[in-house]
């Protein structure tokens, strides 16, 4: 992805583009302060790579001012929890919402052990709750909802191989258990 690419290939970044022009008129900023100031232009880049992935609307784009007040602009912008910089920024309410959901599910999974759901029932429920929790962590805490799809595919690949590994071994064990039992019975019989 060449960064020198002209802005023409950004379909929906007009407001950000304006900010960019504003920023580009200022000289290259020095050091740390500079990095903050450059926020606006960065956002446009980010915009481009995440437009398809972002589940959130970006109504506050025009709020951003170009130029020297970058830091301040960045703060107001991100208070709304929208795309920013090189990647999506998690809004604080969403962070806490996910935590609350995870804690509630933890309590639920402990509580459900006192209910008898049959030999495999409890295990299935516990694993289902754990999977919902894992999905919450992946989707929000790990930013997969806004991340490049390729990273999601990578992660799901590992899950796929985990499932293959477990299911094949389990199937193998199930098919050969009778042989194991016979062998054991034979051993004990000899004694």
């Amino acid at each position: 992805m060449s960064e020198d690419k002209p802005v023409a290939d950004k379909p929906e970044a007009e407001p950000a583009e304006a900010a960019e022009t504003a920023a580009s008129s200022s000289p290259p900023p020095p050091s740390h302060d500079g990095s903050v100031r450059t926020t606006e232009t960065t956002a446009t880049k980010e915009e481009r790579s995440h437009l398809e992935l972002s589940a959130e609307p970006k109504p506050d784009e025009p709020k951003r001012n170009g130029g020297a007040h970058g830091a301040a602009a960045a703060h107001t912008h991100d208070a709304h929890g929208h795309d920013h910089g090189l990647a999506h920024t998690m809004p604080i309410p969403l962070l806490f919402g996910v935590l609350v959901a995870l804690l509630v599910l933890t309590i639920a999974t402990v509580a459900v052990t006192s209910i008898d759901l049959g030999a495999q029932g409890n295990l299935i429920v516990a694993m289902a709750i754990a999977t919902v929790k894992a999905a919450l962590v992946c989707t929000f805490f790990m930013h997969l909802l806004w991340d490049k799809k390729f990273n999601l595919v990578l992660f799901l690949t590992s899950v796929l191989f985990l499932i293959l590994f477990l299911s094949m071994t389990t199937a193998d064990r199930g098919e050969n258990q009778h042989a194991i039992d016979e062998y054991r019975a034979l051993q004990l019989g000899v004694k």
Binding site: E3, P28, P29, S35, D78, L86, V98, S158, L188, K191
Partner: protein, 332 residues
């Protein structure tokens, strides 16, 4: 773990029409960065990357590849767990009474909270909120230490009670002495206590000096042990109902009060939680590193990759615990 450095692509734009020498900067290494406005404005942008975005994306791909290997790494242990549980469900039912669900649940909550602060720290880094970033990293580290302290308490109890893998498995407390078991299956506890005397009789001729707990293996019993009175399957009904006796532990040489090969559960338990705990320790180290970088004010909108990647690793550690907790502590 990839450690990209990055800071800005803004400056990239700042010099709107990039001069020709920008494209050639890689060839010259660090020495010529002064001539490159992107690198000049981004002290943390490594010379082999063109822009902070490129550096960030490359680092992110790297950490996800690493996490993929981590999932497969733990997959082996989850596989061992699955196979062993399928073969010997009674061992898991028996052994889980020795685990403290409250401590496990506490650790789950501690890790979840640390996951929140980790995700929040990424936000802080993106917004260059230095103080909040440092605070969130410190809370994350504090949670990690809390987790390890609780683990220490759990491990030391198990060491003390002889709940160890292999031949070291010499439980000081019998299942019927455990409050968690008595509360749930009072009748089965009585039965187990009564029937355990059979185990003692079986064990004594084999190893006269052995403690009442008996040796770990129940396989090599002398012939006379088998002549002894064995409870019938109906008599064992309460134990079967409690899940303490499984179909494969009903062979004549098995101990009744303790499933055969219960020690394997503790092998799996220590290996899984130990490897997970090791990851937590490594995580603490990396968070301390991030804290030092944060203190130096390295992070901002164009350079927060390291915090993001550390947080991703941290979330994976949390993810694994999310599965370990019900699998080890919440066996029904």
């Amino acid at each position: 773990m990839a450690e990209p450095s990055t800071e800005t692509q803004a400056a990239a734009k700042a010099a709107a029409p990039p001069p020709a020498h920008v494209h050639g900067h890689d060839d010259h290494g660090h020495g010529h960065e002064a001539h490159d406005p992107i690198h000049a404005a981004n002290p943390h942008l490594a010379h082999h990357f063109d822009t902070p975005q490129q550096q960030f994306d490359a680092g992110k791909l790297g950490i996800w590849l690493f996490l993929l290997t981590e999932v497969l790494f733990f997959a082996g242990l989850f596989c061992a767990y699955t196979v062993y549980r399928a073969m010997h469900p009674e061992v898991f039912v028996y052994a889980h009474y020795f685990l403290d669900t409250k401590l496990g649940a506490l650790n789950t909550c501690v890790l979840l909270i640390s996951s929140l602060t980790a995700a929040w720290a990424v936000r802080n880094a993106q917004l260059a909120e230095k103080k909040a970033l440092m605070l969130n990293i410190v809370i994350t580290i504090a949670c990690a230490f809390t987790f390890m302290c609780v683990k220490y308490v759990e491990y030391s109890h198990k060491f003390h009670d002889g709940l160890l893998p292999g031949k070291a498995f010499q439980p000081k407390e019998q299942i019927w002495e455990l409050k968690s078991f008595r509360d749930k299956h009072p009748e089965a506890a009585e039965y187990a206590e009564k029937l355990a005397k059979l185990d003692e009789k079986k064990t004594e001729p084999a190893a006269p000096g052995a403690a009442p707990g008996g040796a770990a293996a129940g396989m090599a019993e002398p012939a006379e042990a088998e002549k002894m009175e064995r409870p019938t399957e109906e008599e064992l009904e309460p134990l079967l109902a409690a899940g303490l006796v499984g179909p494969r532990s009903l062979d004549p040489s098995a101990h009744i009060s303790r499933p055969r090969m219960a020690h394997v559960f503790f092998g799996i338990y220590f290996f899984m939680t130990g490897l997970h705990g090791f990851h937590v320790l490594i995580g603490i180290g990396i968070w301390v590193w991030m804290l030092l970088k944060a203190a130096k004010g390295h992070f901002g909108p164009n350079y927060f990759g390291p915090v993001d990647f550390t947080a991703l690793y941290w979330h994976l550690v949390d993810l694994i615990w999310i599965y370990l907790f019900p699998l080890l502590y919440l066996i029904h």
